[in-house]
């Protein structure tokens, strides 16, 4: 182990990047929260906020170790290597660029959190918060961390000498220095975060089932300025995600910053164009959605493509996602906020387009199809891993604590029925009208029968 030399500039950028990526999850809460109906906004936001709370703790206890601890069979890291985030700066993931251990570990923590939070959009308005909390607590160590290990921790989906890529196209270098000749490229998490979360969302949408009224009732966004604010903060945070993934503040980070910006710009226009042609209207929700699609798609490619390549990649991603999103109505899957249409689709588009647009290895730059093949294989492998593991977790939870709130609770709105709160009370004149009187203003033990009334019965009793 080399001795560690601090680089304050790299560390400053990574501290900032970690903060930016952490901000992405509340940003997602706004983005998702504005898209649901007013009477479920708080539950939707709580799913993101609890993902942060649970994810941070799980990551600290064992998640980091499973992702980046000493390799076990190319599948996971040793959960005991860095229990409780114990580690020396010289063991830092970014020791080479002078970033201390905990800064790098904290930066990675934020990726696990947003990965889990993304999934919640697929199952909006209808699940018990405790089940969601347990899901996050299981999914990060069992699904996210292993996949992170496989791709970024030297596992079988990385560019190591023992990887799938090495098996397909051989290795270069020799001995301990041998690496895959054609290494998969996932610069900042197109596979690990977005394909993973998107696939998990698809599985949960299927296991949990559609909202009451899906396909017949209107379920339109209740607060689009909130959605746009969320999209903007996601973009802002994504600079940490992508440019921070350079591991230091250098020209690579600069390239990632620029490609992230221009791909996103192009994706917003791509989505808008599809809307203009198909629906005759450019919508703000479309532009906000295009922004997220572009951010997702450039994530794996951010340091591999040129600025002009990024524009092409973004435009394609925006248009493709815009076309995929409405398909859920055809197939009847209530992926409520389009986790599949945006994150799975955008993640696949970006991951695969790297094989075409990578300046150093891409098909369009005359480097043959090897990179394209590797990218496709890794994408498929990630889909399988995520699908299988998520399905297992989801089914266990269905059989034990159960996912769904009661139909009556769902009809009344999950905020009122499960959280005893209302998102808004905006009518000035009545905001404090006396019929809304505090009937109990000091803590008291919960009366047993009422508690039972509100506890969801698997048989679906009516709350009213």
């Amino acid at each position: 182990m080399d001795p560690f030399t601090l680089d304050t500039g790299a560390t400053a950028w990574l501290l900032m990047s970690a903060s930016l990526v952490l901000l992405m999850t509340p940003a997602l809460a706004l983005f998702y929260g504005g898209m649901v109906r007013a009477r479920t906004v708080l539950n939707m936001m709580l799913m993101s906020f609890t993902a942060i709370a649970v994810g941070a703790i799980v990551w600290t206890v064992c998640g980091y170790s499973i992702a980046f601890g000493s390799d076990i069979g190319g599948i996971i890291g040793d959960p005991l290597s860095h229990l409780g985030l114990h580690g020396e700066d010289a063991e830092s993931l970014l020791a080479g660029s002078g970033v201390p251990f905990l800064v790098a570990a904290g930066f990675q923590m934020t990726f696990a959190i947003i990965g889990a939070a993304l999934i919640s959009g697929a199952i909006a308005d209808r699940v018990r918060l405790r089940t969601w909390v347990l899901f996050v607590a299981a999914w990060i160590p069992l699904c996210y961390a292993p996949l992170a290990h496989m791709v970024w921790g030297g596992g079988i989906l990385s560019g190591s000498a023992d990887s799938l890529a090495a098996w397909m196209f051989g290795t270069t270098g020799s001995g301990a220095d041998a690496v895959a000749a054609v290494a998969p490229i996932d610069f900042a998490g197109g596979t690990v975060v977005h394909i993973n979360a998107g696939m998990a969302g698809l599985v949960l949408a299927l296991v949990v089932g559609p909202r009451l009224g899906f396909g017949t009732d209107a379920m339109k966004p209740h607060n689009l300025p909130l959605v746009m604010l969320g999209a903007a903060l996601l973009w802002f945070g994504w600079f940490g995600f992508n440019a921070g993934s350079a591991g230091t503040a250098d020209a690579t980070a600069g390239l990632a910053w620029v490609t992230t910006t221009v791909a996103t710009a192009a994706a917003a226009l791509g989505w808008a164009l599809v809307e203009r042609i198909r629906d005759r209207h450019v919508t703000s929700l479309g532009v906000a959605s295009g922004i997220v699609a572009g951010l997702v798609a450039i994530t794996p490619a951010a340091a591999a493509v040129s600025p002009l390549g990024a524009i092409a990649l973004g435009a394609v991603a925006g248009a493709v996602c815009a076309l995929v999103v409405p398909l859920k109505h055809r197939v009847g899957i209530d992926d409520s906020l389009d986790v599949v249409g945006v994150h799975l689709t955008g993640g696949i588009v970006g991951t695969v387009l790297v094989g075409l647009l990578s300046v150093d290895t891409g098909l369009l730059y005359g480097h043959g199809a090897a990179q394209l093949v590797v990218q496709t294989v890794v994408a498929i492998a990630a889909i399988i891993v995520s699908g299988v593991v998520t399905l297992a977790i989801a089914l266990v939870l269905r059989a034990t604590v159960g996912w769904r709130i009661t139909p009556a609770e769902e009809r009344a709105g999950i905020d009122i029925s499960r959280h005893a709160e209302a998102g808004y009370d905006l009518v000035g004149s009545l905001a404090s009208r006396r019929d809304r009187r505090p009937v109990r203003i000091e803590p008291a033990p919960a009366p047993a029968p009422t508690a039972a009334d509100r506890t969801p019965a698997p048989t679906g009793g009516d709350v009213r």
Partner: protein, 112 residues
């Protein structure tokens, strides 16, 4: 002429308007109201303080109709708004002396 007023459950709105359209009603006026009655309300909790909300969101419909149509329309509303659960609401009707369509100045049945 009669004015039929109905206070119904929000989720019954589409069924009622569909039924009224089929019954030949060309227009009506809708308001959001809060109902207070047997149905009770719900509780909210903020930082440990409980609030009792006694009122429940309802929809009020107002339909101007010919005297002759009134009994039938009341039936249509009652039938289409009924779920059988407490809180389904009330329908009542009152006499109207005069009705004018603003656009044309037409009065009486022609104004509907």
């Amino acid at each position: 002429m009669k004015l039929i007023t109905a206070v119904i459950q929000p989720h019954a709105l589409e069924a009622v308007t569909d039924a009224l359209r089929e019954a030949g009603v060309a227009g009506l006026t809708i308001s959001e109201v809060a109902g207070y009655g047997r149905q009770g309300g719900h509780t909210e909790v903020y930082r440990g303080a409980e609030y009792r909300i006694d009122t429940i969101p309802k929809i009020k419909l107002e339909i101007l109709a010919d005297d002759a149509d009134e009994p039938g329309l009341v039936e249509v509303i009652v039938a289409s708004a009924r779920s059988g659960r407490i809180g389904d609401g009330k329908v009542w009707s009152t006499d109207v002396g005069r009705v004018v369509r603003v656009r044309t100045g037409e009065e009486g049945p022609g104004a509907l």
